[in-house]
Symmetry: C2
């Protein structure tokens, strides 16, 4: 380990993508836990569930019937957080500032098989999900009022997922979300100063050090970022500085599928449970600009800390101060790699 | 309501204190919930619990025995996230940036009565907690390596609280946490431009409108901020632009206690359950500067959304994009006021 202080003493690490910090307390991992335990459900689900509104052939709440889909199925969210046809307005009343926000929200079923998760799917099956992300991204990006497309997945009841059927979501909207805005600024500043990709240069450094790398293939690197917040947080980064997912070659789409497959399979082994997480792809805005400073990447934020039932709580200090973690990024990498 | 669009259509609101946005989706509150239900424990606890490491006279994990305290009891956290005596170091290795962070973490028991919470305590009893916060703040502020003092409480198992005994925490450290840094910048900019307190001017606007005010007394206002994120988020703000809690008159400490009492009692009535939340006081850094731009305030972030067992999940979109809420701040105020 290049710096043993980082494994022994409380310190903060800088997130080059957001410009924010994380507090790391390596000595605190020994703290006993008497708090809340999550429910663990390791029961095998059926491949088709009559009562699931995402299974093929079933009727959704709004009366629509799902087609008899064979791999991926996408539809517009029946309870979308963003409306596409609402009026445009602006509130600028002293210190009260608001703005209408329009958008389109979609749901994407990864497989007709109710019992599966990405971890149970092959790289080629996941490649079909990647193709669907690309199709949706392209279609949404072309709409004049859509300037950003957020692809994400909430997996597991503990991550607010209300249906175990393998699925993710796509929320697209007219303005840049907070987190995307931060990453836009940091990447743009770096690109302007160095004429190279911030993440590309970071990747080169990590590949040289080999301290936080989980896996790599020809196109992608899976690693625990130096500034990771969640106990087993990881990031999938294309080796080439691709600004969005449309820029992948077909070979890269499969390599991307492989990277997702390897990581999610390892996750499930850590605590011998279907590993909950929220994942998301951050990529260039769809505002019509070139956005050369963007290097797309996918992050996984899994909450489990000590076992299948004990998660990390991002509460008081974390909400009012700074995210805090106990095990270091380097300890987490070792545990994930042991599960490869 | 001054702008009905805000009650009908998806929009974003600007947080003047952090410079960030919240996405509001008023139409989405009707969405059915099939996801995780939290465990509700409405059982009355005993006034003294032999196995509680915070009760008077009991022995803590490190062997220390709690005194037979009568109101408030403060001690140094046995599993502190920040160490005070660790070495100082700096990592500046290409894109890897880290810095040692030292500090002191304390636990503060609000009452020897194991069965109580702040909601069950009188304004005068809470005033004693306020006095303890002041004593601790003063003592920590005087230490040369402590430049910020974060006072907070995690209440309820769902907020990662591992012991139901009424208590809060104080984490103090050498640098400014992320959230404090944002609020520092926003308040400083406003103060430099307007020569007045950002929150003071905001308060004047809200008192005039009377749309988001929950309660006020001579010294304090309790309101739901226009940009609230959590379903029943609220903020307690002193009417005078006090930079930290030491600047209160004795009368104001009691008015502050009353404000906390009124809000927490109302919370418990919303879903007829001991209302979980994380609360925290944001105040001026203790860096030796005057920090006239700071206006201290206390925020409450309660997660419950629809019932004692259904909370709001800040997950996928919220983690990768922007915090999102369904019921509007104005709807929440009405529900809280109905419980006064
Ligand atoms: O300090 P506690 O009560 O053991 O722990 C709780 O509060 C801390 C500060 O918000 C968090 O870091 C922990 O995740 C949470 O479980
Ligand atoms: O869209 P769903 O699955 O109904 O809801 C889930 O994901 C959303 C987007 O992250 C969150 O706003 C909700 O709190 C969460 O329960």
């Amino acid at each position: 380990m290049s710096n043993t202080n980082l494994q022994d003493y409380s310190h903060k690490r800088f997130n080059i993508l957001t410009g924010e910090w994380v507090l790391v307390s390596p000595h605190r991992a020994k703290r006993p836990w008497q708090g809340q335990n999550e429910e663990v459900n390791n029961e095998k689900r059926p491949t088709h569930d009559e009562s699931c509104y995402l299974c093929a052939g079933n009727t959704r709440i709004n009366g629509e019937v799902n087609p008899d889909y064979k791999d991926v199925f996408v539809f517009t969210n029946d309870f979308a957080a963003l409306q596409n046809d609402s009026p445009t307005f602006n509130v600028n009343d002293g210190l009260l500032k608001a703005q209408s926000e329009t958008g389109i929200c979609k749901v994407i079923c990864f497989s007709p098989d109710h019992s599966k998760s990405l971890a149970d799917m092959s790289a080629t099956e996941i490649q079909k999900v990647v193709f669907a992300w690309q199709r949706e991204f392209k279609e949404l990006a072309e709409k004049p009022n859509i300037n950003y497309v957020q692809i994400f997945e909430n997996k597991g009841a503990v991550m607010g997922c209300s249906n175990p059927h393998p699925h993710g979501q796509i929320w697209s909207q007219s303005s840049l979300p907070n987190e995307v805005d931060k990453k836009n600024t940091q990447q743009l500043n770096y690109y302007n100063n160095n004429n190279s990709s911030l993440l590309g240069d970071y990747l080169a450094q990590e590949l040289e050090k080999q301290e936080r790398i989980i896996f790599e293939n020809d196109g992608f690197v899976v690693l625990v970022p130096f500034w990771a917040i969640w106990p087993f947080e990881a990031m999938i980064v294309p080796k080439r500085p691709l600004s969005n997912i449309l820029e992948m070659t077909e070979a890269e789409t499969l390599q991307y599928g492989e990277a997702i497959s390897v990581l999610t399979k390892a996750y499930d082994k850590i605590f011998n449970t279907s590993f909950p997480y929220s994942s998301g792809i951050h990529q260039a805005p769809t505002d019509g600009n070139e956005n050369k400073h963007w290097h797309f990447h996918m992050s996984f934020y899994p909450p489990l800390l000590r076992s299948a039932s004990v998660k990390k709580f991002m509460v008081g200090y974390e909400m009012f101060g700074t995210p805090q973690r106990d095990i270091t990024a380097e300890q987490a990498v070792k545990m994930i790699k042991d599960c490869l």
